[in-house]
Symmetry: C2
Subunit: 475 residues, 2 copies
């Protein structure tokens, strides 16, 4: 979310019609529990990086409908006075239990749980999904790209292709959590304190009589931060030689050319040749920055081809989370308990895991992540317990020497945050260290194994019992 972007009506109409019907039926205050989760890890990866929690909490804390909002809603001629009066005094007074931002997560586990009065918890659905679906998608995409780059810095510069101005802001924030180190986008740099970077466009080179003149003008303005775009005319015939000329001139003045940027053609082989030319002229410290429709797959192939690249710039495919399976995380928000009683939904391929739950991570003594275990809220999983795959039901024991720790914490109570807002750097560190605990096959960019999420025996039995009850009732 951007600066001061209170959007009380980031709500789908049906949330208010449902709330109005709850209100009329007198059940709007019933105690409800909603889980936010997704069913498939994005990009075919084995996990995701959870992001978007802080802006989501900000939305909950600021939820209120002012007179202008109420006037608009009244103009729809759908809602009665009594419901509008209820809305006018509504604040979010519930609790949120959540993974911390930056934590590694996987399909089917509840990322975030909202507990509160039914109607309140219902009307925050769209905003929570909007914020968390998108930021988790982008943080995950960034993590994949950073992995492909083998630790070389990744600069996010997707603002021009992002989905709207705020799409650009949210994308930059999430990309930073996922491991991108810098952004080109100034508003994101200011809002989130992310370091900014930038070079020139081809239009800059074209605005001068010749390429060398353009390079000299840029070096004159930024002698200590000069990265030159060398592919406007011909990379190896003119761009790199002109950059070397400017590097020499800077050196004479006691400065150093920072780098060159390649933005077209076969960047792997161009980078090797440019490196050779720079080294031969005595400029081994001039870095090579590569852009041009990159994503994790293109970067992996540049790395494999032995490209001499020091850092990568990634735009469109990072800021929009572009992947073979689409561009949206299919997170959903489902009622799992009402009035203390677990609820289940059983539509084909769209069932839910009922009840108030907690989530533990089993790791080796060395910290390697083995599996996450979802259990009933009052359970404490133990070594040796048999846990079950939520889809196939297959059982498997928690290893005897595994360490178990809870992953989620209460982050909001009574509508107020219970913890200080974490620094974005801390979220990025958490993502990096969490990813480092995962097995290589979970992080394979092409054919990943999903990081396992298992149900405790008691939860598994409750699912089975409720499913059977439902089938009987509706038979």
């Amino acid at each position: 979310m951007g600066r001061s972007s209170r959007l009380p009506l980031l709500i789908d109409l049906y949330e208010l019609t449902m709330a109005a019907a709850y209100h009329r039926s007198g059940i709007e205050e019933k105690s409800a529990v909603f889980d936010l989760f997704y069913r498939t890890n994005p990009f075919g990866w084995g996990c995701a990086v959870f992001a978007g929690l802080e802006p989501a909490l900000e939305h909950l804390e600021s939820l209120r409908f002012d007179q202008e909002d109420l006037d608009y809603l009244a103009s729809l001629a759908l809602f009665d006075e009594s419901f509008l009066a209820w809305l006018s005094s509504t604040r979010f007074t519930g609790s949120v239990i959540s993974f911390p931002e930056g934590e590694v997560v996987s399909a089917d586990e509840p990322l975030l749980t909202v507990e509160g009065p039914l109607a309140q918890a219902q009307i925050v659905e769209t905003a929570l999904l909007n914020i968390i679906n998108f930021q988790t998608l982008i943080a995950t995409k960034a993590a994949r790209i950073v992995r492909a780059a083998g630790g070389r810095p990744v600069v996010e510069f997707g603002a021009r292709r992002a989905q709207g101005p705020d799409g650009a802001l949210s994308a930059t924030r999430a990309a930073f959590i996922g491991g991108a180190r810098l952004t080109s986008h100034l508003e994101a740099g200011r809002t989130f304190g992310i370091p900014v970077a930038g070079t020139q466009a081809h239009s800059f080179v074209m605005a001068f009589e010749g390429e060398l003149e353009a390079f000299r003008a840029y070096a004159g303005a930024f002698p200590d931060h000069c990265v030159l775009l060398v592919d406007t005319y011909d990379t190896l015939e003119s761009g790199v030689p002109n950059a070397i000329t400017v590097a020499r001139e800077l050196k004479q003045g006691g400065r150093a050319l920072a780098g060159i940027r390649l933005d077209s053609g076969d960047t792997a082989s161009l980078s090797v040749e440019a490196r050779r030319m720079l080294d031969a002229e005595g400029f081994p410290d001039v870095e090579i920055f590569v852009s041009n429709d990159l994503d994790e797959h293109v970067i992996a192939s540049i790395q494999q081809a032995g490209g001499a690249v020091d850092s990568y710039g990634v735009g469109t495919r990072l800021a929009t989370g572009m992947g073979a399976d689409g561009v949206a995380l299919g997170g959903v928000y489902k009622l799992v308990s009402l009035d203390g009683k677990p609820r289940i939904k059983l539509s084909a391929q769209k069932s839910t895991i009922p009840g108030r739950k907690s989530v533990f991570r089993a790791t080796t003594a060395g910290g390697a992540a083995l599996m996450d275990v979802v259990c009933l809220d009052d359970e404490q999983p133990a070594n040796g317990d048999v846990v079950h795959d939520p889809v196939t039901g297959a059982g498997r024991a928690i290893p005897p020497d595994a360490r178990l720790r809870p992953l989620r914490h209460e982050v909001m109570r009574g509508g107020r945050r219970t913890r200080p807002v974490p620094l974005l750097d801390g979220c990025a560190d958490r993502a990096a260290s969490g990813l480092a605990t995962l097995a290589a096959d979970v992080l394979d960019l092409h054919r990943a194994t999903a990081y396992p999420v298992m149900l405790s025996g008691a939860l598994h039995r409750m699912c089975a019992r409720m499913t059977a009850d439902h089938r009987r009732e509706h038979a």
Copy 2:
């Protein structure tokens, strides 16, 4: 763009470093012309629907850097006092020549041209691209979906999967221009005056003891706008029969059930069976609304399978513009003239068409669109003129009986709009009537022929001459 969403720093850093270098070189005021265009029609279609102009003009009109902006920029330790002083007094004072919003456009033609002092025109690049790339993508996606639906109303409800809160707002606006009739998103409804629609979620049905009780509660609250979600438990065994019970109860009270909603399973065959059941019970007017991961291809297959559907709800794949070729329109912003002299860029597969240009559409007497002709600004294309494909150079004559009309107009001069802001309805009407002038093969959802954009003979010769000159200079 949302309400009061002034974002002066929706700028990539390189635009400011370039502007600073222009400033230092004393060429920041040189008269520049930039074209905004894209090279491939999105979704493999034969055209696109141009959208985003009004928010883009709003951005230009409101461009200014306040003290807080300047303080942030100063904190980067990149810019000198003289440039920051220049920035503090900078406003956009240039002109914009553009297609109207909603017009049908095609690859390689300049959608929008910015003319103004070089540095000013440079620093608006990211914002213009961000806004127009995304909205044009979504308007085009909506137009495809509406075409697949064969004129049945399409409701946009993608807010929960859109790319950030503003991604949702911009998407709804653009989807409306492209032909979506309603939205679920209240903030978009309020901001843009788009009609809103909504039913219930599965959680609503699950919040009551039984499905029938839930349906009755909703019908009690909205007796005149009651659409019931019938797939929470079993569509044909329980959902539709319970909806029929409620339809009977509403009828006894002199009201009518508006519709049912199918959201899972084989919606084509379920809709046929539900229609049969409703008709058999005397409810031929109860409409059937279908959702569930729809896009133009799924809708086309439901229509082909004889689905009995009255309207469609489309979320994720509309609001994010999801398509086989990705989710971003690759629009670019290129310098085409400086100081009155045309400029050209020749990187492999990324060349530009130089100079100030205008665009004409050739149509039959009946209004069918034949081709667009891009020519030099002082040219007037005529019947019989040979025009050229911009990529292959192949020539073709403008038919002797074609009518020619200019497509672009000056919409901003001296930094101020020259025309009143058009109504969004008018933009949607323009899109619908523009699409109706295109040949069926341009609009084929699977294998479209690109609507042709041709260069005038004079422009074609200028491109060839400048390319040859460049090759000679750099040989």
